[in-house]
Amino acid sequence: MSAVVQDPQLIEASPPLVQGSRDLHDLTDQISSVVEAKVWETPLKYWITLVCTGSIVLLLGAMLTYLVATGIGVWGNNRPVGWAWDITNFVFWIGIGHAGTLISAILFLFRQKWRTSINRSAEAMTLFAVMCAGIFPLFHTGRPWRAFYWLFPIPNTDLNIWQNFRSPLIWDVFAVSTYFTVSLLFWFTGLVPDLASLRDRATSKVRQVVFGILSLGWRGSARHWRHYEQAYLILAGISTPLVLSVHSVVSFDFATSVIPGWHTTIFPPYFVAGAIFSGFACVMTLLLIARWTLNLQNLITIKHLDNMNKIILVTGSVVGYAYCTEFFIAWYSGNIYERFTFLNRAFGPYWWAAWSMYSCNVFIPQLYWFRKMRTNLWVMFIISITTNIGMWFERFVIIATSLTRDFLPSSWGYFSPTWVDICTFIGTIGLFLTLFLLFARFLPMIAMSEVKGVASHEKHSFAGQAEGSISHR
């Protein structure tokens, strides 16, 4: 790994985004070879990892079965913490999902070409994270097969109920399900040209048929591309306000209540910044693993990682600023409940969770001010994980500290998760990793058609520069 850190590309003023394979055919080969490899050609470490994560999915299945068979009492939700572990996990996973759309939509609109090697996997990660998030609200109803009538406005004759649109909880249902659907359509739209490439390369009948159907008969005609590019722009344009709305709506669940520590107007931007922060960290973790196991150093370069670390630094600092503002407003408001909540948060029974959150989210990412830290693979791997630990604690701290000690001291309590709570959360991590591993092996993880566009553009604009830099040294 250190050989990559020493890469001469770092010395160049503006290193190319695609290295090694300047030839378009090489690029197709490099990306498709992962998908086209025979079972025994894929590294053994991949299959071992898949078996490990797959067995964690079985744990999730067992926990959910146990929950449905027994009742939601097996989770630790109880007075005074009715929103406990499950809402923490829901907000955590939804937050992780935000980076995908940010990379694919917002960076697209800002013409950030470096996004092309990472957007596909970030979008896939979004889908998997939202699936994991959905498990918690769905199963906390206890009867998930009936939940569709409770969650969605579907006319029903046996229950005779409608949703209450004055409640932010139903806004949340709309926001999250829209987010999932739009992310799925966006992701699939991006996949179609690459699926067509795989179809055209397929040698076996099965692959031809499967990729033939999935690619919808795409043939890269100019008449296709003109609609495609326009559609991609529209999807990016509507995804941008969508991604900002989703976590804002999630934060409304808290902010529209009167609980001290929740009832603040800073929640929407603060939640969105935290979501992007945790999402980028999660993309970083997965990309570093994929880059190492599938040898993608030429496509996911240090430059990409450096750029992502800069975004982590910015959003981490925004989150730190939001923490400071919360404390300031708690003091400045003169509201004794608000003041107590924040002192209790930092120095009360959950002090350990609060200080884990401050350290992981605000202090540790400050290392990224140094270029050496932003380009060191081990440092970024560790920080990407501590960031997500910190962001999980942020949600836990917000929920647990405010609910365990609110207005009435006689109803104070302390929340501890049950073993089912813990195993269900671990199970969703297993599901997330399994889905990502399957994606990385069976679908093109890097958007070939987009990278080719960038590579072809660079070949012409960098041709002169490359010669210059050689003579310069």
């Binding site: 709309f174 055209d200 390369r201 795409w218 043939r219 005609s221 609609h227 080719k452």
Partner: protein
Amino acid sequence: MSHTSDPSVLIAQIKDKLGIGADKIYGVIGDFAEPEDLVKAGRAIREMGYTKIDAMSPFPVHGIDEAIGVPYSKIGWIAICGAIAGIVTAQVLIYYVGKINYPLIIGGKPLFDFTYSIPPTFELGVLFTAITTFLCTWGLSGLPRLYHPSMNYRNFHRGSDDRFLLVVEADDPKFDAQKTAQDMRSVGAGDVEVVEG
């Protein structure tokens, strides 16, 4: 279509409609190594008077649309209709549920109010726009269509890999297999082939 139940006759009729079959000619296809060459050649072919021109490339080539005369996509207008449909649906749904079908006073809030309907309205607007755009992307491109005569071109598979293909279709009034193939070669196309339907 006639009232025959013989599947082979039906298939023949459908094939005839789609312009598919060994007896038909789809057009002339040639390939290029660089996107710039494709644009240049496309413009040259168009200047010769051809009108039914198409290009196939592994990524969108900029400038090809105007070079071969592909009109600008109107998908944006359809997307706006999708957005309006979503907004109207959400407003009607929330009004109907809250005020007409299931009126319940909760927290002293009005049965319908514009302000609290904003988040679901926004989300449905986005959802309908996305679904409309998605369906129109394929619908307007004539997809899904799993078979297309251009797939008979011997280098078709490289059109999604690293080559840039230029097509003159047989229904072009100026089309003549020999002459068009000659013209293709004259603008620098490699591997020119008269492709059967």
